[in-house]
Amino acid sequence: MYGYILKRLIAMPIFLLVLTMTAFALSMVLSPYERLAVFLPTEDQWTEEISLDDLVARYGLDKPFLEQYWEWLQGVLHGNLGWSASARMPVAEALARYVPASVELTLFAHILVFVGAISVGTYVATKHNQLPDQVIRVVGSMGVAIPGFVVALFLLVIFYGWLDVLPPGRLSTWAQDIVSAAEFHRYTRMNVLDGVLNGRFDVALDALKHLILPSIAMSTGMLSGMMRVMRSSLLETLKQDYVTTARAKGIKESVVIIRHAQRNALLPVVTMSTGAIAAIISGTVIIETIFNYRGMGKFAVDAAKALDFPAVLGVLVVVSSIIVFSTMIVDILYMILDPRVVLR
């Protein structure tokens, strides 16, 4: 197992290298002048007379591909991800600001997905072919078929437009003032956690309120899909001989399900979770835009629209590192759950 972890850790930088290089090569399809657009100051900021060619040369946009990539890579290794013109700050700073917001949101969504899918899936499997099972099965297929953005829009109309109980954004204005104040320590930049750490439970509660709608919208599809897998996997496990044996020994049904069956039934869910994590992170792009939640997804959309390549590359690096890392964790978890699997 340690060999496997070591192998993965060595493979990770190579993976990131190939990935960023591909993305970088893709950006080279654009002419240097197109890529210059994002660096250009607005009209009233022009202070010097300079031709476009000089500007291209200044930002090194006309150099060969590998040389530009090498410069970018050197910067990254020194902690400098470049300048994000669309956010008007260094990419590293923008990421430090926006990534925690998305982490907070996606963590919330992950909890919803995993806890919801496993518990509902287990429940309906024990009610096989009874009413709850039939209903949840249809609802589950519907949940898979509804796009996240449609769920998001309808939640927004109902809970903000109509009932006015759960607003969009990250914080209410009053809470935003408290958070921006100097005496409020932003330990993690995740508002719920910071609110608790600072003893401001009203802020934490407000932040939590803003997380409810987006995290529901992000998780419906995955929750339904995973619930379906959990259900059918548990149904299958409950037919196994060792479950019958356990029942024959007179063990309580709830113990049989939780101790004997559920653990093995979890394997397909664990397998699926790599994709689920990637899907939830992808979801931030759409959901954050709809709810005007200032996180990494919204930052990525704004950057991509402005052809702000340093910013897009920065997001790519962060997102793919998270995904590669979580894939490794999932693989290890799989091995712990199923000792027969040997990772090489």
């Binding site: 078929a145 796009p147 829009l153 109309v157 397909p268 990637a278 992808s282 959309v301 699997v341 090489r344």
Partner: protein
């Protein structure tokens, strides 16, 4: 036909089939129920009845369902959008299946470092957030449905490749392959005549459910504005048009309900139909898939036992082949 009977015997499968067929009919007769205006050069561009930015309900215009922001006829967009959905879904699903099967199949047939390289590349694409990647592609190549198709194929082939790979690994050990080798058949001939036809089954089964998920992904891309060009009949984009009107007015928060409700229903019924059909198809065709799982064995303890086909409506159980590190 046997499969068809099995699918329609399952009530959910029947419902899915009806939904899909209904949309297929609508797509076929689109020019009849929503005739394009005389002189318009592209019927796929949504008919504009006015240039009013505020949506209008059906009663105020001569349209069936009203107009969305910009004077686009909702009914026209919905009807022609079905053609877009079918075209996009079929193109992407067929191409990903062909590319995935051939690439994944050949790689695992060849084995060795080629297999390793191709599967690592597949992993690279698979654990990558598709939407962010599609954004990068469209910022570089420009907007358009064809670019969305490219992005979806680029990120769709690995799952077919993996499915086919695990099959090929077992099929190439079979006696009839050895027999073909013994009588001196060429490697390519063995692959395309003997190995591939016996390995594509698990991929074919996923056709219907993949239609659903692909159209869903495409709708998401169009929704964030990197899909079809503005005005093109595309459901995701129509929801995007409606975004500014979602909150209605202070007096009535549901003032413009029709702008987002109709396209949402269209996407939902289309995808739902394909997913139900996909479930039913898998239930009907499952036995062989079950056998292949048992052969590989790692994911399930002893395969599925005695589950009555069609009765449980069981959902897919991904095996280790869906995992990033193959255990075989």
């Amino acid at each position: 036909m046997n499969v068809l009977r099995k699918v329609t015997k399952n009530p959910l499968g029947l419902a899915g089939m009806i939904l899909v067929l209904a949309w297929a009919v609508i797509a076929l007769i689109a020019p009849l129920i929503a005739p394009p205006e005389r002189g318009s050069d592209d019927p796929y561009m949504i008919r504009r009845v006015s240039y009013m930015s505020v949506p209008q309900p059906a009663a105020k215009t001569d349209t069936l369902l009203g107009t969305t922001g910009g004077g686009y006829d909702l009914f026209y967009g919905l009807i022609w959008g079905s053609r877009t959905a079918f075209r996009l879904g079929l193109e992407v699903v067929c191409l990903t299946m062909i590319i995935g099967t051939v690439v994944g199949g050949l790689a695992s047939f060849a084995g060795g470092w080629i297999d390793y390289l191709v599967m690592r590349t597949a992993e690279l694409f698979m654990c990558f957030p598709m939407i962010i990647a599609a954004m990068v592609i469209t910022t570089v190549l420009g907007k358009g449905l064809d670019k969305v198709i490219i992005a979806l194929i680029l990120f769709g082939w690995p799952s077919s490749a993996r499915l086919v790979r695990s099959e090929v690994l077992s099929v190439k050990q079979r006696d009839y392959v050895s027999a073909a080798e013994a009588i001196g058949a060429g490697r390519m001939r063995i692959f395309f005549r003997h190995v591939l036809p016996n390995s594509i089954y698990p991929v074919l089964i996923t056709f219907a459910s993949r239609m659903g998920t692909i159209v869903l992904a495409a709708a998401a891309l169009s929704f964030i504005g990197i899909g079809a060009e503005p005005g093109y009949a595309d459901w995701g984009q129509m929801v995007n048009f409606a975004r500014n009107w979602v909150l209605g007015t202070l007096v009535n928060p549901f003032e413009y309900w029709y702008t987002y409700t109709y396209p949402s229903i269209a996407i939902f019924t289309f995808v739902f139909g394909w997913i139900l059909l996909g479930d039913a198809m898998r239930d009907a065709l499952d036995p062989r898939l079950r056998g292949s799982r048992r052969r590989r064995g790692a994911g399930n303890r002893s395969g599925r036992k005695a589950s009555k086909p069609g009765a449980g409506g069981d959902d897919p159980v991904p095996n280790r082949s869906g995992q990033s590190v193959p255990s075989d």
